[in-house]
Symmetry: C2
Subunit: 187 residues, 2 copies
DNA sequence: TCAAATAGAGTGATTAGTCAATCAATTGTG
DNA sequence: CACAATTGATTGACTAATCACTCTATTTGA
């Protein structure tokens, strides 16, 4: 038996990214997912609930992947680099997911995500940064500011990689170089 | 005589930022702007046209402000710093405009803005970066990548400043420090 | 006098969400 | 094992409301 909820999620992701929240009616999502209109509302009470649930799901998947894949290195720098690389590789493998997260982040729907959920996503990287600041390996600055800087760096680099569409080897080189830039910036 | 078009722009900005594109009907924009429904469509043929026109207008204002305010310094670093500071001060003074631009940037409406318009906005900063790369004062890397990095840095810092809501003096210190970080990263 | 600006009621299409009716799977019972 | 009983998933026609946009009449200003 196919998982209809998952089907709805996948279809919604694709449509929301290509046509926006407004531009995709729930009826179309249901149709393209091959389920009945009512089924969608069996799983999600409102369209808004679907939009938010999809965001939380994608973030969870990203965080989970990071937790499973990123290696704890012998030095702080290597640990951070591993997280950096894993995040970017995940994003490159999940372009739609990444676009959706960005779109959602700067939309008013973002206000509907509880602080706990947000904190849950950041815990992993926050731990590393905090250690770095405390041990004076990283510049002393507000945690949130550093989080914001690192986050923006990752997002910006990813946007470039998606738009530039260069070969894999070049991509890896750029990602690696970018990490060095980031590291120089943080220390 | 009050400028109704400007009134519509201001109201639309406020409502779109607080409720999103979908969440704000044109009828509400007209009502809150104190004009008739038909007047809105006298100035903008469609809702989409209003959304895009508002974006272009805000970007123009931002670019114009930068062109008027940023100083050409004796060194490349000082020129760049001036642009950096001016951008951030403008953003702090126009929080809604900044949020709107972000929201628009990562929405499918962005695809409706012509390449020329986008290039027009970037010309100013691009000139400085290009000079820097050519004169080997900045690291050698793709122009677009550097643009993306600088842009993200500005956006990320601004998001932090808006959320942290610290006193003016602290803000200025953080902005100044952040520029040093950015400079370290680029060289 | 005329064109542009403004008004606001009206319209047709769309859409989020409902609901009553099946269907499939599981569980309880003699 | 047979066979109700129960539960939750699924359907798709339906509706009430909304919304983008139109139309026509009126006003304004040069």
């Amino acid at each position: 038996m196919i998982d209809k909820q998952e089907l709805i999620f996948e279809t919604a992701l694709r449509l929301f990214v290509s046509s926006g929240f407004h531009g995709t009616p729930t009826s179309l999502i249901a149709k393209e997912a091959g389920v009945a209109n009512g089924t969608l509302f069996h799983y999600f009470a409102t369209k808004e609930e679907l939009i938010v649930a999809l965001y939380v799901k994608l973030k969870r998947e990203m965080t989970l992947h990071l937790a499973e894949t990123a290696q704890e290195g012998p030095t702080l720098k290597e640990t951070l680099k591993s997280q950096f690389l894993c995040s970017l590789f995940w994003a490159l493998d999940h372009k739609d997911a990444f676009k959706y997260i960005e779109q959602f982040n700067s939309s008013p729907y973002m206000a509907m995500v509880s602080a706990e959920i947000i904190a849950e996503q950041l815990a992993c990287i926050l731990g590393v940064l905090r250690t770095g600041i405390e041990s004076h390996q990283l510049s002393k600055m507000p945690e949130d500011l550093m989080l914001s800087m690192v986050g923006s760096h990752v997002y910006g680099l990813n946007r470039y990689l998606i738009s530039a569409n260069c070969p894999k080897a070049t991509q890896h080189q750029i990602i690696s170089d970018s990490f060095e830039m980031l590291w120089k910036m943080l220390t």
